[in-house]
Symmetry: C2
Subunit: 360 residues, 2 copies
């Protein structure tokens, strides 16, 4: 009955042994929220769910992978974990390192990052070092250092991260009693689509689900290397968490798309911001902009008739289920929210004046 | 097996009927994280747990009460919900109103509040009106308007909020298989200590637990009306969520303290900030400052020998369990984190230089 985190819950599906010391913040177990508005938009016979990964301990899905990466690092006797990251990865790495009592070192390019983005990693006690170079230089240094010293790299190259992240598929199947028909999700570095697809396949293989979803991934239009079929030198998008020009798991993402019969498409920043505001103002769910790419993609595909076409192919007498993955909490990027809203009006402290302002 | 929010889960303990339309964001079901460091600090025979309420959908425990308040408001045919709040209450009210499709109106004193604090309410579509007056003027206007119009007040005066909030006690008992021996928690407006105590009593009465915890509440030293026994005109503390000079549930908090044999004490801002940093850097748990008051209080009581004294009274052959309530996520107050950390150092992008900076 007690929940003890994703490794404890899905131990049989993960590369851990009795000797692995589990470092957990009770990540996972995130809500799968039914969306009435999006279900209605798609019409009769469709059900849309929002997997709210922003309710992981550090506010993003990264915690699922990090509990695995840090637990295995401790098992291997590492002295510290290290990454080049300016966002959710460093926050998660720092939190799990703090929990386990080992050091966390974060390399970043100098000047490029506001302190606010780093506040989480820093408050969790990470040692953040800015280097006189770009992000690739930082990652190269992390690779060299972790190759030569008992320090574990926890960037996405760490294979245990994908193992942990795949547990989100298991949770979805457990909650729906089977896999959904479609999954819409943001694609940045492409580790997460890789992880979900791996999870869905493993669950089906073990007989825990009977079908596989069609995987629909969405990149931001200014940062869509997989869609364009070539790396993007200077990717641009307001969805910073998926602003990646050369995804580490590119081939695996393409495989997930092709094996599942899904697609990888792109959505504009405008579409992302529209979905971001719909989620907050109609669903009551506040996400970081990258997360909204999944719902922007859902809306785009719906307008193209994609789901209705696929509905026709389905002969089963049941609703078609679509899950949108919301990767991070809106509180991760408060500046974006502030830029989207208007200053409150100020009125006299009188009943009539306030009632007039309310317009009731 | 599926989790559908606190009303669905604890329906038998809540004033809802089959006709009540449930408005939920799947709030509740938050982790109870074992704390190795704090357990060790207290010594053999003690177990400390952190109830991480910051993982509710809007980032604070307010969601538990708001699902009840908004569901009942809809049942009663209200047109809008309204509150005077500058923080977690308005964020939660706005999210649940958005979810249900009704309006949310928030009154605030003009000039006093940074837009960042309001970003959540605004992005969820609340109509925020600043009035030319102070917080009491705003609350008075909310009371007048909600008295005269089909608009529901969702400030703490709304009795359904306490009903929802008491479910956190149920979760703790369910996870520990009984009530804990002690509970440490922040006290501001005192609605939450009232709710927890009500929950613990009800669960025991229904035979779901065998004991009741000693309730230990902590106010901030500059904002400690209950400790001093008189309202504080200009309360001051960095823990903004408990900066309240005249708590709405004052008498109920005193009753919880006295009936449980607990206490209501105060902790300084310095102690709060120390606990805030311990939680982030040693436990990997990032909270808003008010939440840290519970752990600051735990440390203070421990240093006074309080738990050891009480340990002696206990003849049972089992560990003493203490739960600290962490009411909100650290991402609610990023500015506080930024003020607590140091700027990263910048070094040359060379292996040796970086290794020297790391000091390994």
């Amino acid at each position: 009955m007690n929940y003890n985190g994703i490794i404890d819950k899905y131990r049989d599906y993960l590369p851990v042994t009795k000797k692995t010391p589990i470092v957990t913040l009770l990540e996972g177990n995130t809500p799968l929220i039914p969306s009435q508005n999006l279900s209605s938009m798609l019409g009769k016979g469709f059900e849309v769910f929002l997997k709210y990964e922003g309710l992981n301990p550090t506010g993003s899905f990264k915690d699922r992978g990090m509990t695995m990466a840090v637990s295995k690092a401790i098992e291997e006797g590492t002295e510290a974990v290290m990454c080049a990251s300016t966002g959710n990865t460093s926050a998660s790495a720092a939190a799990f390192a703090a929990r386990s009592g080992i050091r966390c070192i974060v390399l970043i390019p100098k000047g490029a990052i506001a302190l606010g983005k780093l506040a989480q990693a820093l408050i969790h006690g990470a040692q953040v070092i800015a280097i006189d170079g770009n992000f690739d230089d930082a990652l190269d240094l992390v690779k060299q250092i972790t190759d030569q010293h008992p320090i574990t790299l926890v960037n996405s190259l760490n294979p245990f991260r994908i193992e942990g992240q795949k547990t989100a598929s298991f949770e979805i199947c457990d909650m729906l009693d089977d896999a959904p028909d479609f999954q819409c999700m943001p694609v940045g570095n492409a580790g997460n689509i890789t992880a979900y697809w791996k999870g869905y396949k493993e669950y089906k293989q073990k007989g825990r689900s009977t079908r596989l979803p069609m995987m629909c991934g969405f990149q931001a239009a200014g940062s869509a290397p997989i869609v364009h079929g070539r790396p993007i030198k200077n990717p641009e998008t307001i969805a910073t968490a998926i602003r990646i020009g050369n995804p580490a798991s590119w081939q695996q993402a393409v495989a997930a798309r092709d094996e599942s019969g899904g697609l990888i498409d792109m959505v504009t920043d405008e579409e992302i911001l529209k979905a971001y505001q719909i989620l907050a103002a109609k669903e009551g769910v506040f996400v970081e902009p990258a997360s909204a790419a999944s719902v922007a993609g859902l809306i785009k595909l719906h307008e193209q008739g994609y789901f209705t076409e696929n509905r026709k192919l389905n002969t089963a007498n049941r609703n078609i289920q679509i899950v949108c993955i919301l990767t991070g909490h809106g509180l991760k990027d408060p500046d974006r929210a502030i830029r989207c809203v208007r200053e409150p009006i100020t009125v006299e402290a009188k009943l009539e004046t306030v009632m007039e302002a309310i317009g009731l």
